[in-house]
Symmetry: C3
Subunit: 136 residues, 3 copies
């Protein structure tokens, strides 16, 4: 059985933002066992799982990926959309836009320290949309 | 219901190549709602989703990942298959060989600017094979 | 049809470790066609697919990702859990904790050279748990 729907996130500032609670609120009744696929419909942001306890972790994740793929690299040709655009595309491919999470006993079966994060790589990315597909 | 088959891609030069149309042509009739998993059966290439409008984007993606993981790093031990081999393995793990995409109303449900790309990291990678699994 | 269970891995040292055989032994009877999702319940390790022939490849993969995201970056704020902790979180998001693999004729349908690796990014990560979900 497949359930599928779209979630619109509020606009987030550049950085990594916890969205586990927001996703769980939007998910309808989940199956006893299954999978949820989250698919972000954008090319300059990403979805990841990481530590959900200390807010310094998402801050340092943003620092580290911005350092790996800095703005204003003089080697880029695609610069017309701004100095944050092409690095956002690179980070989107490194982190990924598709994430599959198990469902167990009607809940997202995340590990103790795991949370879902939206990685907003643009300075002003606006509202982002996720297609949710639930399998049981 | 599961459908499964293999797609052989034509040989591509080193770089990021749009394959959305090629994949869509090979996909049979798709379900009203479901998921497609694309699994690349190789360890020196990858599959990603990124901007499908400006051809400078895949060019800059290749530039950026080649800069992150340069050829001829003197720290590599596995060099017998050529200076492009070990960096190709590293980039394959960074980008990933498995990609899950939602299907909605019998079509791949990609965002407006999204396309699927084969990331060929070898200088002469030859034909690459993808196992396609469709769930409905 | 969904089958789901948890696998506990033995503790591994820092580095990339082949776990294909271990996973295959734990998998029960697999379907004729389907998908297996492996979901690592941790935020300082990852799962990837790469070359399973030459042991220098996982060694060089660890070298390359440690070089990309070095320990002791003075820009990190989250340092209380040790100099290997925050870089482990970054590498976990770059490589990913969720991996979907096709099943064909009752077996994991990996390419000739492909194997599954646990990427242990902590110096002493301890035993890691994977939630396995099999779809047919």
């Amino acid at each position: 059985m497949v359930q599928q729907y779209e979630i619109s996130l509020p606009p987030f500032s550049r950085g990594y933002h916890p969205i586990t609670r927001l996703i769980e609120e939007k998910l309808g009744s989940l199956p006893d066992a299954g999978l949820v696929n989250l698919f972000l419909r954008h090319t300059s942001a990403a979805i990841t799982i990481n530590e959900n306890a200390d807010p310094d972790v998402p801050r340092d994740l943003a620092y580290a990926t911005d350092k790996l793929v800095p703005d204003n690299d003089p080697g880029y040709i695609h610069t017309i959309e701004g100095s944050d655009d092409m690095p956002a595309h690179v980070k989107s491919s490194l982190i990924s836009v598709s994430l599959t999470i198990p469902v167990t006993r009607k809940k997202l079966n995340l590990g103790t320290w795991q949370g879902i994060f939206l990685c907003e790589f643009r300075n002003r990315g606006g509202s982002r949309k996720i297609t949710v597909t639930v399998y049981s």
